[in-house]
């Protein structure tokens, strides 16, 4: 049996922080008094997210999600909700653009501290079929807040 350590690309993909968000998702569950909600799924792999936001005066006061899927999609959702609270909608959309850029392999986006824990997902850009997993919650966000 091959017992060599996992490839560097794999260790970069499955960082401790990602597995931690996967196993202990933050802000998971239904949100009382949600003003915006969107359900998205990835028909190919069955990843699901139901994103709920309470937006007041163009500010995201609270955000929670319900979902199931792979470690990448669920960790991305958990990390995203941490970051969005008390941001304005335009700020949230800027973060979504940064996240997209990081998934396209943009290294400056991957170093942007504004992305917080999400920077741990930079390795996903090396796995093209998994990029849609990381972006699923962000696409839900964009759908939810678009005018």
């Amino acid at each position: 049996m091959d017992t060599s350590p996992p490839e560097p690309r794999l260790s970069a993909l499955y960082q401790e922080l990602i597995l931690d968000h996967y196993r202990r998702p933050r802000n998971k569950g239904a949100l009382d008094g949600a003003t915006h909600s969107v359900s998205l799924n990835n028909p190919l792999c069955g990843d699901e997210i139901d994103l709920q936001l309470r937006v007041d005066d163009d500010v995201i006061r609270d955000v929670r999600f319900i979902g199931r899927g792979c470690s990448i999609s669920q960790a991305s959702a958990s990390m995203m909700t941490q970051l969005l609270k008390d941001r304005t909608v335009p700020q949230a959309l800027t973060l979504a653009a940064q996240m997209n850029a990081m998934m396209q392999g943009d290294e400056s986006a991957a170093k942007d501290k504004a992305l917080g824990d999400l920077r741990a997902l930079a390795g996903v850009s090396k796995f093209p079929v998994r990029i849609k997993c990381a972006l699923l919650p962000w696409n839900a966000l964009t759908d939810a807040v678009k005018p």
């Binding site: 091959d2 996992p6 490839e7 794999l10 792999c45 069955g46 699901e48 990448i72 997993c133």
Partner: protein
């Protein structure tokens, strides 16, 4: 078991390395690799025989037509079809089933009628019937499965009490590997006057199939799952049913005489083959059947069952792995989950070791709901796989567990 290492030498793609590792291809239920014999049959066809079929009066066109019709006879022989004219070439199982739904179904299923399917059907043997029933105001009745992934025969019997017009089921489940008692199901369905449609996508490549012994009415198969090119496939049907059916697609080849406002139609099977057919696919399918017959469908089935059994034995040794589907007799398909590690993560990790498996819902979402999972990982075997591939799968899974820090509950 078969000498898989020797057979693998016939498959150029399997010589490739993937992510620096020997390619271990375990996604045969999705599609199979093609042997040199099939690749060269396709190239030879274009180098020596290509012309439009059933049209030209010149020798080349006659040879092309002969090659195409010889392929039809080959398919008929392989599954013991009622007659060669009962073999309609299609793009595959999906198109074959859509043909039955669109032609036979639209002519014979009406408001208040029932169509029976099963909870283990692939979307290709479900969605066409949903569309038909919605259009006609008919009822779609889905037969439940048992805990261990078999068709629930008692629920099947209850469904038949509705005296359905049509009953559709898979011979072999693509997601579970269950081999259904197709002949018994067909007999029960016929007893209430239903027409029987069998999805043969997963049985034709892996078992000795005899449609006359099954005594179904329609049997759909895909070439690409049995070493032949993508876009090859057939609907095998009782000729008298095809005779009475309205056409499916209109166009060239399927007509007899065309007037300004109506047409008369060609005889079967040409009535259902509008337009220039995929002759290359038919020729490739014939070459694939030659290859499979040289080895023998029974020996292929034995080989795959041994691999599946070895996989079940080794995977269930890993703490946290759940294998779905029946124990004992089954086809070479093994669906599993591993603790809370999502199947997609498993597939990504295995890919780094050059191991190709499928992760997802396997185009069987109703089945996934019944198994209470969003997705499973699936390894599926064919004649070129060997015990070493099973060991590689198990070894890589252990690695996935370590990477995820999987701790058994």
């Amino acid at each position: 078991m078969l000498d898989a290492a020797r057979l693998r030498a016939d498959f150029p793609l399997l010589e490739r390395r993937e992510n620096g590792r020997r390619l271990v291809y375990l996604d045969n239920a999705a599609t199979t690799q093609k042997p040199e014999a099939v690749l060269s049959a396709i190239a030879d066809y274009y180098r020596t025989t290509n012309a439009n079929v059933h049209r030209g009066a010149y020798s080349l066109a006659i040879r092309a037509t002969e090659a195409y019709e010889a392929a039809r006879a080959k398919v008929a022989g392989f599954v013991n079809a009622w007659a060669p004219e009962g073999v309609v070439f299609t793009r595959g199982t999906t198109e074959s089933i859509n043909l039955v739904a669109g032609s036979y179904g639209r002519a014979h299923v009406g408001r208040g009628d029932t169509v029976v399917v099963t909870a283990m059907d692939h979307h290709s043997n479900l969605v066409p019937w949903q569309i038909l029933c919605q259009e006609k105001g008919a009822t779609l009745r889905m037969v439940e499965i048992t805990e261990d992934g078999r068709i629930d025969l008692s629920d099947f019997g209850t469904a038949l009490e509705r005296r359905p017009k049509l009953v559709a089921f898979p011979y072999v489940s693509n997601a579970l590997g269950t081999v259904n008692p197709a002949a018994q199901l067909a007999k029960l369905a016929h007893a209430v006057g239903a027409v029987v449609v069998v999805d043969g996508a997963q049985s034709t490549p892996h078992l000795k199939v005899d449609v006359q012994t099954l005594d179904c009415d329609f049997y759909a198969l895909s070439g690409h799952k049995m070493l032949a090119p993508m876009g090859s496939g057939a609907l095998v049907a009782k000729p008298e049913l095809l005779e009475a059916m309205p056409p499916y697609h209109g166009g060239g080849e399927m007509i007899s005489r065309v007037f300004d406002d109506h047409s008369t139609y060609n005889k079967i099977p040409h009535k259902f083959e509008a337009g220039t057919p995929n002759v290359e696919a038919a020729v490739g399918l014939a070459a694939a059947i030659d290859y499979l017959e040289r080895i023998g469908p029974e020996r292929i089935a034995e080989h795959e069952q041994a691999l599946a059994q070895a996989a079940i034995d080794q995977l269930t040794q890993i703490d946290g792995v759940t294998v779905y589907g029946p124990r004992g007799h089954r086809a070479g398909v093994v669906s599993f989950t591993y603790g809370d590690i999502h199947p997609h993560d498993i597939a990504t990790i295995l890919d780094q070791d050059g191991i190709c498996i499928r992760a997802g819902h396997h185009c069987a979402q109703p089945l996934m709901r019944r198994l209470n999972v969003a997705a499973t990982a699936r390894a599926s075997f064919y004649l070129y796989n060997e015990p070493g591939d099973v060991a590689a799968l198990a070894g890589s899974l252990v690695k996935a567990g370590a990477l995820f820090g999987y701790v058994p509950a």
